[in-house]
Subunit: 367 residues, 2 copies
DNA sequence: TTGTAGGCGTTATCAC
DNA sequence: GTGATAACGCCTACAA
């Protein structure tokens, strides 16, 4: 066992063949070109020497790095770890490896990372960054790089993408609240420059219409980002506006967490005074009090599917562009309750005893 | 602008020098070898052509990939995202890139990933996997690969490592509870094969001794993993044992979350009936009711420091092995309260009004 | 079926 | 200071 790892030459020498023959014997694609006997001799020699092909040399030769660049805003956002794992698991099974880049929503940073990945010859990209009119997209399109978009569409280009069906998810959220008897339902919308925010808003409007409920513009408020703080602000403004409402369909779990804080401050209780539905079913959201009713978003699967789509494009440039939507699922927990005192069950088991069950949330303006 | 990215030859041709000279001019380390004038000509040509050195070719030649392998158990564990970001941020600033591998605590998987990274010629490893007597460590030591351990020590080998001071953190936890007047303090310990579990247990014992409190063996229970379920089980067993106690120093936030559930089931309230201190200060733990008092663990910094240590080893094989401990910090929130009704403040502001402030938790055995 | 030769893009080591 | 040459390890026309 030499210190230096065995190379193809070593294997060839051991098997008494030319390196080229050894190469063919070891490569599944070309093994048919070589005779049974030598193929076996080479394979055995390779095993004996503990031969590992050098991926760097191979990359240089084949111009493929077996590496995929993944751009996300921030790994600390709890939505992303499962997505990244999905990507890695699926890609690893195909011999690819992930290069992860956090853009922090900074498009300058995004471009730098993109270029660095490009310099490293990544074979394709998964883009989960949410900026519209992205120069990275333009460049990727120009250079015909394999790209899969996550959770966003880029109508101007022809990229494969995989998203959860945001619109449908929010319709489910509204339908659930309507079924509980709520009629005055508010919506805390996500940023409208982000496709998830926009889609969920559309879903809210569609859901209200489908349930035959009136849409009040003053019951829709838009957060500037998916943060706890924005959730608190929006919820507080909604409450202070004096517009009466008994439920809120929130565009995101983080925002919903912020709502909890605002309700605390206002001395209101969920779900007694106000029903709340989130979106994402992020980890530990079921550990809050009350556990949040929310729309589950299949994060891990989003990753595996994105990986699959990308692999298709990477291995065959001519494979068709696909737009994939994954269905969300409503998870009913303790943050939603029927509007009226009597009957009904919140998925939680025990029926909450409303303190002010019939009261409409919202502090009327002093008058 | 040709379709093919500019190569060093192109730059050399444009600058009318030999490729070797162009290489020297462009490499900061060797620029001094080349005359001022040509250096500038080459640089300008490089800029004009948009030249990007090909890292694959460079790797092949220099046998350095500027790539670091990072092995963690599971990215979904909320402790790891900030650590990984710390690693990536620091490494990126030095031109390195992270290859992430999730072992899921499976040492077979760990070894496979390790080998694959090795085949890709990573320049070093950050190992955050917690298995004792790890074959990967043995191999890394044998081959003298640069390695930094996170949150664990390997006494048998000479590796740099960075950890939070688990013992000190748990001493702080106990001291806090003792200061609140608690004397019968239980400990839910982490797995003792993992260095964090063991260190925190030692810290608990040391802390009790330092506060002059008696240690009761039946008030120490060991979880088989850092999971919510194990937390629930341990807490329940503690309660059912009938051993009286008024506070628990828990080895991990996940376990503490499980304790919340067990308390719910038993109809007990935190902190009124039982004070609880966690460990880690994981994201959103401050959003639980009550917000968890816990020992903060500087995750992000753990990542940056590990990266720093590794870079030192990678760039200079002779640099000394360092064992680094980062100090934890106690974050007082609402899950701890003074034992007696009167006075005292839980960092939360409002003094909780104990329902059964003096009652000792634990259901006495029917007798 | 196997061997030959050349090159992927870069840098280390010579010589000039 | 700069140029020439070779080599990192592998793959693939092409020739035999």
């Amino acid at each position: 066992m030499p210190d230096r790892p065995a190379t193809l030459r070593d294997v060839a020498a051991a098997a008494r063949v030319h390196p080229a023959t050894a190469s063919r014997a070891l490569n599944p694609e070309t093994r048919i070109l070589v005779s049974e006997g030598t193929a076996r001799r080479v394979t055995e020699a390779a095993v004996a020497l503990g031969y590992r092909p050098n991926p760097v040399a191979r990359s240089l030769r084949t111009r493929k790095s077996h590496t995929i660049g993944v751009l996300i805003p921030d790994l600390n956002n709890p939505l992303f770890p499962p997505i990244v794992r999905g990507l890695e698991d699926r890609l690893a099974s195909a011999g690819y490896v992930v290069l992860l880049g956090n853009t922090d929503g900074d498009s300058g940073k995004e471009q730098i990372i993109f270029e660095q990945m490009r310099a490293r010859h990544v074979d394709g990209y998964v883009l989960a960054t949410a900026h519209e009119s992205n120069p990275v997209l333009a460049e990727a399109a120009r250079a015909e790089l394999p790209v899969v978009l996550m959770n966003r569409l880029a109508p101007d280009y022809s990229f494969s993408s995989v998203s959860a069906d945001n619109e449908q998810g929010m319709r489910m959220s509204v339908a659930h609240l309507a079924a509980l008897g709520h009629t005055r339902i508010a919506h805390i919308a996500g940023p409208q420059q982000i496709s998830t925010g926009e889609g969920r808003r559309r879903g809210f409007l569609a859901g209200m219409k489908a349930s035959g409920l009136d849409i009040h513009d003053d019951l829709i408020i838009t957060a500037s980002g998916y943060t706890v703080e924005e959730g608190t602000r929006c919820c507080r403004e909604l409450l202070e506006s004096g517009a009466g409402f008994t439920a809120v369909a929130v565009a995101n779990d983080m925002l919903a967490v912020g709502c909890y804080a605002a309700l605390d401050d206002a001395g209101l209780r969920c779900p007694d005074d106000l029903s709340l539905v989130g979106f994402n079913d992020m980890p530990f959201i079921d550990r809050l009090r009350p556990p949040l009713t929310t729309v589950r978003f299949p994060h891990y699967q989003l990753g595996t599917e994105a990986a699959q789509l990308l692999l298709e494009r990477v291995t065959n440039r001519e494979s068709p562009v696909k737009i994939l939507y994954l269905a969300p699922e409503l998870i009913v927990r303790g943050s939603t309750a029927p509007l009226v005192q009597a009957g009904g069950k919140s998925g939680q088991g025990a029926v909450p005893v409303p303190l002010h069950g019939t009261r409409t949330a919202g502090i009327p303006p002093a008058s």
